[in-house]
Symmetry: C2
Subunit: 173 residues, 2 copies
Amino acid sequence: MTVRERLLRAATELIAEKGWGAVSTRMLADRAGVGSGVVHYHFHSVQAVLVQASVGALKSAVDDLGHLLDASSTPADVLTRLLEALDGHGGQELFTETLLAATRNDELRQAVGEVLVDFRRTLAEWLAARDVPTPVETAAVLAAAVDGVLLHRALSPDLTSDVVVPVLGRALR
Amino acid sequence: MTVRERLLRAATELIAEKGWGAVSTRMLADRAGVGSGVVHYHFHSVQAVLVQASVGALKSAVDDLGHLLDASSTPADVLTRLLEALDGHGGQELFTETLLAATRNDELRQAVGEVLVDFRRTLAEWLAARDVPTPVETAAVLAAAVDGVLLHRALSPDLTSDVVVPVLGRALR
DNA sequence: GATCGTACTGGACGATTGTCCAAAGCGTCT
DNA sequence: AGACGCTTTGGACAATCGTCCAGTACGATC
């Protein structure tokens, strides 16, 4: 793994652990096992590291979600896999932190917006092919609802797939 | 308004604007229109201001939501009002930031957890009285879904109540 | 009018921040 | 061997951070 990749990896970990606003140059360098100056050699600012790392993680997660949809047959199936996949893929905090940071950073907002539109379109097509009513609107709300569930799950672990899937499943009929 | 109250108000504004980790002593004092030393006169740390302010805002929002439930008759009605109320009540960012911070602060986690349990119980009772299936689980998922919608709405303003209510409404039948 | 306690100010303190840079390490080519 | 370019290091720099504290302002009490 190159130093650049190690820095991006460190960024995704630290955003989830400490929060977007609490990640510093030296934290990144320490976690990546390099000197502190190397951060500004590969990136032109700390914010740039965070943006590239979080957008990269978001894109790779949405890619996985695309493959996941192909392998799913029922709405309950896709909900279960969706929750599992996002949970594993860097943790819920990373995505929430990124969405929140996108609220305050125009460049990030645009990049995240594109990824989100892409995901909603893929999901809407899947829903439409299975005759779910109002697929476009349902996909948009579903994406948001899943994010909310991941966030709440961090505080109340009893919000398992067993609880979530039947309820959200009712919205997919 | 007392200086203490002005500081708490400033804290809720700044958490939403800048993010939990980016609120500083002098920011708080400036926004409240007081000298910088006064923060540690009324509170024993900056974190304490943020915790008290965010928990207070959360409690008052949940209180309003309780009254709101009394005035609502249909599930679609309660969804619409819920989204409106939370949107106005300090903005979506404040609540998301608070939930995220609760992930990293034990004292805050406990306080937020209690408020959340309280809200879910109230909502579950309302749902049960209207014969919505699995009211407890539905209330938990609904609370999470609404939070997710508010977060996504910050990035894609097209996620209006007109779009959200019909979809989530399907989960309440 | 002197004294007292509460509320508040503004600056000091050491630690940490983002950014930049001179120097050094190191493989490749002449 | 020498020169070159890419990568990395560790420290310098001003700015800002959280916290603390000596000193001031002011109404209430004696």
